[in-house]
Amino acid sequence: MKKRKPITWLLLVLWAIMVLFPFYWMVLTSVKGYSAYNAEYTPQLFCANPTFENYIYAFTEVDLGRYLFNTVIFTMITTALMVVVSILAAYGFARLDFPGKNIVFTGFLALMMIPNELVVITNFQTITELNLRNTFLGLILPSVTSVFYIYLLKENFAQIPDSLYYAAKIDGSSDWKYLWKVMVPMCRPTVVTITILKVIECWNSYIWPSLITDDSKYYLVSNGIQQIRESGFGRANIPAMMAAVVIISIPLIILFLLNRHKIMSGVVRGGTKG
């Protein structure tokens, strides 16, 4: 058993290199000068004299700053709306009684099985007919609800003992107050988890933004970088494109490194990519 450990380590390090190498390559390429990069027929694994000109170029030549700003706005509003809507709905399911609750909840769970690809077509038509193409509203509205996050929160809310609720009732606290003063603070870890997962989802969303925006003023980073690659400087200036890629990737990597336990346990509890 003891003897085979070096092979274990070797294989683990090999996979770590497989994972990290593309990140190394994107940072490396982004600090190579334009002419230096184009002069090397065989790629160099190191860069003798790094330059930051590509980063300046990425912000001045295309509106990368605007794409980032759009993405931040889109992510913040979508996530905030999702959290509020989900908290209210989860509370309704977990705490309050109304006729037919079980039937409604079962039907609600069935909605989880609907694939996004099926509903995107009509949503595209709806948003187009409402003249909301190339607007934040058109980007945000269909991205708000997540059946799964409501379910996750509801499960957590349901774990809070009933006695707390009755105690609050006796003290004259309203349902609304009880929700925000007791329930939400007690379930903070779950709320934080779904917030972070939604932020990741929003930051990386590509399909919906690419369908609903064709005015570069409303591009998010995903279709922004696609635009750079196909008709911007990406066709010729690979180092500048890689600089843009680095800038787009950094915010989420920082978010991940700061919250890695929350993110990883949140994903175990029910995330899938996309």
Partner: protein
């Protein structure tokens, strides 16, 4: 009135769901049956199955179907097997395990489009640059290939390679947490009985984590059938001309992009895709019921 207060809390969620999930779900079936629908006039010629016939006869759809099926058949077994091996190796070490776990999870939080472009650069060969992968292939005496604009098998290889790289973090994470929850008592018992480590893995570990493995296989099939962004990142938005379109890509191209403006064809294709995924998932569930061990 008080009886219905709960519904008030559900109202915002239901409004969103009704408009953007339930109504579209019904509507997509209606679209798929409306023949000759035009977005401009919002009129259609008749009701029938013509849209399905058209899609099934479209060579682009056939190509997308072949690409997607190949992608699924190649990436799901490899990524599941590889992640199982890596998760298993991870459990054998204690020092630095959390560091490795963090590194392995990194691709999950990165933008598929952005990192896909790094893979494009790594695999691309141009007259001015041989590219990293071709350089390495040159070291072992293989002749260079353009993986991005070259032969079909090369493009398929990059697409599978990148897809596996993207889906690994999720699978490794799920399997390591499944392995970590196996009661060590079983291993101790096996050790006392002098069971070989391969036999321990095959007879004890694998059955105990089989629910997680099947969960990954099922979600893996579903996810791979929906591949699209990865292909766009590698080959650009015009996937039909690259011959690398996927089923989801076909749906969106029909809806919007260059050949777009045909929501009826897009709907028919989306429903066909959904029917395929549903069938495969049901088969998967039936198989997993037979082999999964629930303690």
């Amino acid at each position: 009135m008080k009886k219905y207060r709960g519904l008030l809390y559900l109202l915002p969620a239901f409004l969103f769901l009704a408009v953007f999930l339930i109504y579209p779900l019904i509507d997509v079936f209606i679209y798929s049956l409306e023949e000759g629908y035009s977005s401009a006039s919002q009129q259609y010629a008749g009701i029938g199955l013509y849209n399905y016939q058209y899609v099934l006869r479209d060579p682009y759809f056939t190509q997308a179907l072949i690409n997607t099926v190949l992608l699924v058949v190649i990436t799901v077994p490899i990524s599941t097997g590889l992640s199982l091996a890596i998760a298993f190796l991870l459990m054998r070490i204690e020092k630095l395990r959390s560091l490795f776990q963090t590194i392995y999870f990194l691709p999950y939080v990165t933008n598929t489009l952005a990192v896909g472009m790094v893979f494009m650069v790594l695999f691309k060969q141009t007259p001015y640059s041989v590219g990293f992968v071709n350089m390495v292939m040159g070291w072992v005496g293989l002749s260079p290939v353009d993986f991005i604009d070259g032969p079909y098998w090369a493009k398929m290889f990059v697409l599978c390679f990148y897809t596996i790289w993207v889906v690994m973090p999720f699978k490794i994470l799920i399997l390591t947490s499944a392995l970590a929850s196996v009661n060590p008592m079983y291993y101790d018992a096996a050790k006392i009985d002098g069971t070989s480590s391969w036999r321990t893995f095959y007879k004890i570990t694998l059955p105990l984590i089989s629910p997680s493995v099947f969960y990954l296989i099922i979600t893996g099939f579903i996810g791979a059938f929906k591949a699209y962004s990865d292909a766009v990142a590698l080959f650009g938005t015009n996937l039909n001309s690259a011959g690398m379109n996927t089923l989801v890509g076909y749906v969106f191209d029909m809806l919007y992009r260059d050949g777009g403006g045909y929501p009826s064809y897009a709907s028919a294709a989306a429903i066909l895709l959904f029917a395929i995924v549903l069938t495969i998932t049901v088969i998967n569930l039936m198989v997993s019921k037979k082999y999964t061990h629930y303690s």
